[in-house]
Structures are given as C-alpha cells and as structure tokens.
C-alpha cells in the first residue's frame, strides 16, 4: 500500500502518518534526542541511515542468526594465522589420515592439514563475496539509477542489455571467460563474477528509482532548483538503502557460490587454498574412493553456511522495504 492510499483510507490509529517501514524509533531518537541543537540543513547522513537499517535487521531473529554466522566466518578469515594450527600449504604430514588430536579433521592426500586449510579457505570466500558483491552492487546502483532516471531511447537500449545479461546463463559465461583468462588468479575470478553478477540488482534498483521519481518530492526538488545529480544522490539514493543492502548480500551470495564453482572446475588458481579448490583436489584425488568424507563434507558445508548467513540477513533486509514480509502470523 502506498502512503497515499494509507492517507485516503485514513485508518492509522495515530494522529500522524505512521513512518514508512517501522523506522520510527530510530528516527525519534536521532531527531528528538538532538533537541534544538540541529546542524544547519543536515539531513540524516548515509551512515546514520545505514546504522538505522542495521538496527532493524538485527531485530529479526533469522537475520540475527545470519549476522552472527557471518561474523564467525569474517573473524576466522581475519585471524586465520592465529587460529589455524598449521600453514595451509604445509604438506609435511602423513597423507590421507583420518581425524586425530594433531589433525582433528585429518589430512589431505597431499599431506596437508584439513582444518588449517578450512580456516584459511574462508579468506578467499569472504574476500570474493565482499569485493565482488561490492563491485556488482556498484555497477547495479550506477546503471540502475541512471537507467531509472532517464527516459526514451537510451533507457530502452539499457533495458535490452540488462535483460540480455539477466537471461544469459551466468556460470557458463564465467566458465568461458575464465577459460580464456586462465592464470589470472583471484583478481580474474572477481572480475568475471562482477561482470556477470550485476544485472539483477540493476533491474531491481531501476524499478525502485522509477517509482520514486514519479513521487511529488522529486518534482518538488526540481522546483527547488536542484541539479539532476543532486536529485539522484540526495533525494533518491538514500531512499533505496534497504534495496541496495539487499542486492549487495544477494550479489555476495552469488559471488561466493560462483567462485567455489569455478575453483572446483580448476579454473581458478588451484595452488591457492580455497573451499572450492579443496573440493577440486578432493575430487581429483578420488577422496570418494578412499572414503575421506570429511574432505568432501567440510568445505561444502562452510560454503553453504556462509551463503546461508547472507540469505538470512536478507530476510531482515526484506522486512525493511516490504512491511508485509515482516515476521508474524498471517492468519
């Protein structure tokens, strides 16, 4: 329901209009808490908007689980050298061993410690997720917003290209690109993932931009003498925080899964320890035949848990922009 309809129906049990998507408490504290000491012409900065969004996400139980899970992986990635018992490429141990006090998850067929590899592997996934997610979101924001704000032929052309990128199967394209660019390592993988991963976000942000630009406050900003640049970045952008956050987590999830897939096919740097390359070596050294199920199980579980944590966070983000999806019993 748009705000306009809510007004016409007029059944909000409060004298003033309820705030959009329940950010009321956050607003009240920032504004009323400031009393008379308000900076001249200060809108809520993007940072306070983000902080507020984070607070609302935290209030959704599923999202809270996701944030905690994500924090665990990020901490593991950052402190890997402290947490891991051995260097990930140290292959001086007995080969293909089962679990033991010295090697809780056993060793690989090349004689490396599985637990250490697992901890170090989080670095690649977290890095790829964050960097590629950020890159894809950046393209999505820039393209989606300018596409939503322009009209006419240019918009039609962009529309065609975004739709093309949406329907072209991403992973095959990544595989082809990676095959040509072999030897490019992690940077190549991130590049390939970004190139193929921005279209969905661009589409979502485009339609939101379009719906916002038809609102009167955008026309009003034009009448206040604002430049197009300022209208896009000061009037429209701050109203899309939740959608942008959502597309970031969506793109990061896709990036993590894509990286693991490419590494599993051996298209990344096979010497680099990542969860995908662990599975590549496990498959190539026939871990299935030797019965080393931990080698198969653990890296994939980590990928799945990391991706799940991002999806769970997005449950909270969804509730920000769509009150109907908030937790609760329907009927």
């Amino acid at each position: 329901m748009t705000e306009k309809e809510a007004t016409a129906q007029g059944e909000a049990p409060e004298p003033t209009q309820p705030p959009p998507s329940g950010r009321k408490n956050a607003y009240n504290t920032t504004v009323d808490g400031g009393g008379g000491l308000v900076r001249v012409g200060a809108p809520p900065s993007p940072l306070t908007v983000l902080g507020r969004a984070a607070g609302t996400i935290w209030s959704v139980p599923k999202a809270r689980v996701g944030l905690i899970l994500l924090a665990v992986f990020v901490l593991a990635a950052v402190f890997a050298p402290l947490l891991a018992p051995y260097a990930p490429t140290d292959n001086s141990f007995a080969r293909a061993e089962g679990g033991s006090p010295a090697h809780p998850l056993g060793t690989t067929t090349a004689g490396e410690d599985v637990l250490s590899q697992l901890i170090y592997g989080s670095r690649v996934s977290v890095l790829v997720g964050m960097v590629a997610g950020f890159g894809a979101t950046l393209i999505a924001v820039l393209l989606g917003m300018s596409w939503g704000y322009t009209r006419g032929f240019a918009a039609d052309v962009i529309n065609f290209f975004v739709n093309l990128f949406l329907v072209i199967p991403g992973l095959p394209l990544m595989i082809v690109l990676a095959a040509y660019l072999q030897g490019g390592g992690l940077a190549m993988i991130i590049f390939v993932v970004v190139i193929t991963g921005w279209a969905w976000g661009a589409r979502v942000l485009r339609s939101q931009t379009q719906s916002l630009r038809s609102r009167d406050f955008i026309t009003a900003a034009q009448f206040s003498g604002e430049s197009s640049f300022r209208i896009v970045f000061r009037e429209i952008l701050p109203n899309m925080t939740s959608l942008i956050t959502g597309s970031f987590f969506g793109a990061a999830t896709a990036a993590i899964l894509a990286e693991s897939g490419l590494s599993f096919l051996g298209l990344g740097d096979t010497a680099m320890v990542s969860w995908g390359s662990m599975l590549f070596w496990a498959q190539n050294s026939n871990a299935i035949l030797t019965g080393q199920w931990v080698l198969l199980f653990a890296p994939g579980l980590c990928i799945a848990l990391l991706a799940t944590s991002l999806t769970l966070i997005n449950f909270g983000v969804d509730g920000l922009s769509n009150p109907r999806l908030r937790e609760g019993k329907g009927r």
Partner: protein
C-alpha cells in the same frame, strides 16, 4: 427488530515491534432491520476498523479485545473459520474503499459471481448466470460486463461490480467503507445515488463509513460520529444537523458551507459577495494548524508580471496504436494579472492539471503560447526552466508524497533558499525560520528539526507551502492543495493561502474539483470540461448563478449537510 447489537466493543492494534494502540474504545449501539446509518470520523478515528470488525474481518494486527457483536442474536466477535463463513450468506457483507483493487485481475466478472455461488450454493446451478445478470443490472451495468476482466472496466464500474457481488450474498447488513472516496467527483455522486436507491428497494441494513460528514448527512437517516476511537454522537441526521451535542460534531459541521450562498463562512475565512477576508479567528484544532501569525515581510520590489495563455492546446499521441490522439487541452486562453487568484475547476480528465504542467514548463503546448510577462514558457530549455522556477512554484496535492521522508523540514526549505536566494550559512537558516513563522509552524526551531512523518497532514502541507514561498515567486500553482486533508484541516490551509496572497501579492492559480474551496480563495474562475473552457467570470457570480450544465453538476457534487433537510 434489532439486527445488530454491539456492546462495549474495543479493538486494539498490536503492530509487530510497536506499542499497541486502542483503535476503538467501548463502542455500543444497536441497528434495526432496514436502517441506513452513517459512521463518520476523520483519519485515525477508528471508523474503518469498526466497520471491518462488524463484518467479521478484524485481522492481525487488529484484535477485538473486549465486548460483543450480536448479529441477529449470534455473537460474531468470537466466531471463527467455517462458522463465520456460513454466516456470510444472508448475513453481513462489505464493500471496500478501493473497489478498483477489490476484484481479482485474472478472473472475469462472471467468474467472481460463480465463485460466490459455488461457495454458498444458495442459487441453483441452472439459475446462476441469470442471477448474476440480475445483480449487475441492479447496479446499472449491462450484462456484458460479466465476460470482461476487471482491468477492462472503469473505476466507477468496478465499484458497482463490487456492490453487486456483495449483494449476491443476499446480505441483511451491508457495510460500505468509503465506497466513493477513490472515484472521480461526478462518478462519486452517481455511485452514491445507486447505493441509496438499492438500500431503499432491497431494504437491507446499511452502514456508510465515511470521512465526509456532508456526504453522510445527505444520504443517511442516522449518524454515528467517531473521534479518537470513541463514538461521540449518535442520533438522527436531521437532529445532528440542527442541534449537534458534541463539540467535535459542531466543529466538523462548521467546516461545511454552500458555495452558492451570498455569504460563505468557514472557521478563519469569510466570503461575502466577492469580498474575501481572513477572519483572524483560528480554526479549531491543534494549535499549530492555526492561521499564520502574520510575520510576513514586505515583498522585495521586483516587477510583477502576468501569466498569459493564448489559444493554448495540448494533444498527446494516442496511448495505443490505432487509437485517436488524446486532446487534453483545447484552445484555452486566460490571463492571471499580478496578485490575482484564478480558480481552474473541473472533474478529473478536464485538462486542469495539464494546464498546470504547461505553465510550469513541464510540458510544451502543441498550439498557442504560454507566457510569463515577456517569457515564452513553451520554448524554454534547461537553464531557462530553472530561471522560470524562481518565479513559478507549485503546491502539490498529496503532502505525504511531496516531502522526502528522509529529509528534515530545515533541509527541505534550505534547498530553494540556497539555490535561488543565494543565501548561505546563518543567513539562510534565518530565512528558513522566517518561512516557518510565515506558514504558522511555531515554535520554528522545533519544526525545523522535524522529519515529515512527525508532522500531521496539515502541517506537512504548510511545509510544502513554505517551500513554494522560499524563492519569493510571482506565481504559485496550487494543485488540489486541500483535497487529501481532513475536512477540519482544510480551512486553516486555505486561510493561509489566502493570507499569503493578500500580504505578499503572489498570483495564485488554484486548481480544484471542489467549488467550495474555489469560492473561498479566488476571485476569478474558469470551468473546464474535456479540455475546453465552458464557463468563466467572477467566482462569486459564476457559482451563485451558474449558466453551464456542467458547472451545475459540479456544484451539486459539493456535499452539503443541509441539503437533505430541505
């Protein structure tokens, strides 16, 4: 015979993650078979919540916290599932506000009827089609609508279909929740007449839920007035009109007047003949919605220019291939002299908003010229348009969408001050506070810091007006500036607009379908029908002695509580 007996009914809203609010408090009343009752209240009064509860549609986050709703002896307040569903045939039905959205877009109208007949099996199979035809004919629609999809019908037709669907349950109680609010003015009246006629013929008990006391007093025999969740008055329409008991009812009634009268008076505003004046007596309501405190400064001595339209036409290309081009405006000429106020009235689709777009340079005319002084507005490019906006400003219809929800009042007002006024720092801030004072939002420091959602509709509209004034414009175009506000808030905003014109000498183009507000703030009027001017002249003259049939039709559409009594 008592059909509905509501005892001490309370309903709470328990939204997720927020404090519960009591929306309806201790409602008690009885309805007899065949009564037509109005339930009136402004936004937030709890009237729709009550209407939904009476038809067994109270849903989370609303919850009936106490009391009983006895429908023909059965308490439906605590009935659930299948028991409640069975009650619906020959029981209670509801027509929603947004009839346009009340129909399933992927099912034909005929299938909607079929679904209801299948659910209750109260019409024999062989007679179902005939019965559906009967029902749509009752609401004055041709039988052919049964084969159409909702998207192929107009808003008024869809609302009629919704009424026919509710009627197909053979209800004894029918609740109409703002059945005409979302419709065009002239359609509103026609649909309302159908409802009144149906009620008379079929003799069901009807509750008309509405924000508009005028409409309710015109149509119903008995009125319940709700205010902040409490029924404050309950009595025959005629008695409430002549002798209202509750202060709130009195206040509501004071906001109605007949635009045809010699003297038209609303709290804070008075028109006698063609003399408009603000009476200085603030309208009832929250203090900040009072008339401006008069802190206006004298205008800078810029030359004032007239807005001149000569033979203006605007034709849009056909919406689909093979259709005719749309003529939105056809050969319209008028002049707004500096400091004048001109009303542009007409139903939706009459072309009045298109004219606003032409004057602000948002659209270009396909014929004729639009000028502000010597400037040809139609030929302006980017930079020229920007300069034009220093002189021509807009006040929007919907105060909820006209302010960016994330920006404080101060930021919103600061932008035009900085962009057009060239002021910086403290000077700019002083100007912003001045503007707030002019529109009566005091204490100004507090209002400057607020965000839009912390303001009421009337306060928001004042901010919108302040923004329009920020660059000291020559012309203000107000597009239905009060139509989205509660009736009791309208007079205050109108008085503000009128006061500004008097004190600042701003020209005003006032676009509206509501002839009462046109009478109150303008001295000249132009009536538009399908893009053409059908009548023009002094506002008082045209409204008191209308010549064109269309003007008369628009006049009849203004709700007047007194009319029922005549």
């Amino acid at each position: 015979m008592t059909l509905l007996d509501v005892q001490d009914l309370s309903i709470v809203y328990e939204p997720h993650g927020a404090e519960p609010v009591t929306a309806v408090r201790g409602a008690t009343f009885r309805l007899e078979q065949g009564e037509f009752v109005g339930l009136v209240g402004e936004s937030g009064s709890g009237k729709s919540t009550l209407g939904f509860a009476l038809t067994g549609l109270a849903r989370a986050p609303a919850r009936i916290s106490s009391g009983r709703i006895a429908f023909d002896g059965t308490d439906i307040a605590h009935l659930d599932g299948e028991d409640l569903r069975r009650q619906r045939r020959g029981g209670f039905a509801m027509v929603l506000q947004s009839g346009m959205n009340a129909l399933n877009p992927v099912r034909t109208i005929g299938n909607h009827f079929a679904d209801i007949f299948a659910a209750h099996e109260h019409v024999p199979r062989g007679r179902r089609r005939d019965r559906a035809v009967e029902l749509v004919e009752k609401v004055k629609l041709p039988a052919s609508v049964l084969d159409r999809y909702p998207g192929e019908l107009s808003g008024g037709m869809r609302q009629r279909v919704a009424i026919a669907l509710a009627m197909s349950l053979d209800p004894r109680l029918l609740v109409f929740d703002e059945p005409t609010t979302a419709l065009d003015v002239l359609v509103q009246r026609a649909v309302m007449e159908t409802i009144i006629e149906l009620q008379r013929e079929e003799n069901f008990t009807a509750i008309l839920v509405s924000h508009d006391l005028g409409v309710v007093l015109e149509s119903t025999a008995r009125v319940l007035v709700m205010h902040e969740g409490v029924i404050v008055e309950d009595g025959p329409a005629a008695r409430i009109l002549q002798d209202p008991q509750d202060d709130y009812t009195k206040m509501l009634l004071s906001h109605y007047a007949d635009p045809r009268a010699e003297v038209v008076e609303l709290p804070g505003l008075r028109v006698a003949g063609s003399q408009i004046s603000t009476t200085g007596e603030g309208p009832a309501g929250p203090g900040t919605d009072a008339a401006p405190s008069g802190g206006a400064k004298a205008r800078t001595g810029r030359t004032r220019e007239a807005v001149v339209l000569e033979g203006v036409g605007k034709v849009y290309p056909p919406p689909r291939r093979g259709e005719d081009p749309v003529v939105a405006v056809d050969d319209v000429s008028f002049t707004i002299e500096p400091g004048d106020a001109l009303a542009l009235v007409g139903a939706s689709g009459s072309g009045k908003s298109t004219i606003a777009k032409l004057i602000t340079g948002v659209e270009r005319p396909t014929a004729g010229t639009v000028r502000l002084g010597e400037t040809d507005v139609g030929s302006l490019r980017r930079a020229g348009l920007r300069r034009l906006r220093r002189d021509v400003q807009m006040v929007f219809q919907d105060p909820y969408s006209a302010l960016n929800p994330l920006h404080s009042v101060e930021y919103t007002l600061m932008r035009p001050v900085v962009n057009f006024g060239g002021l910086r720092g403290l000077e700019a801030r002083r100007r912003v506070l001045d503007l707030l004072d002019i529109v009566g939002l005091t204490p100004v420091e507090q209002f400057a810091a607020k965000l839009p959602h912390q303001l009421s509709g009337g306060q928001r509209q004042r901010v919108v007006i302040a923004r329009a004034l920020a660059c000291d414009p020559q012309v203000i175009i107000a597009d239905e500036p009060v139509s989205m506000l509660d009736v009791s808030l309208r007079a205050g905003v109108l008085a503000l607009i009128e006061g500004l014109r008097e004190q600042w000498g701003v020209s005003l183009l006032f676009i509206t379908h509501d002839l009462l507000s046109a009478r109150l703030v303008t001295d000249k009027i132009l009536v538009l029908n399908r893009g053409r001017v059908v009548e023009r002249g002094e506002t008082a003259q045209v409204l008191r002695f209308p010549e064109d049939a269309y003007t008369v039709e628009l006049l009849d559409a203004v709700p007047q509580p007194g009319r029922a009594a005549d």
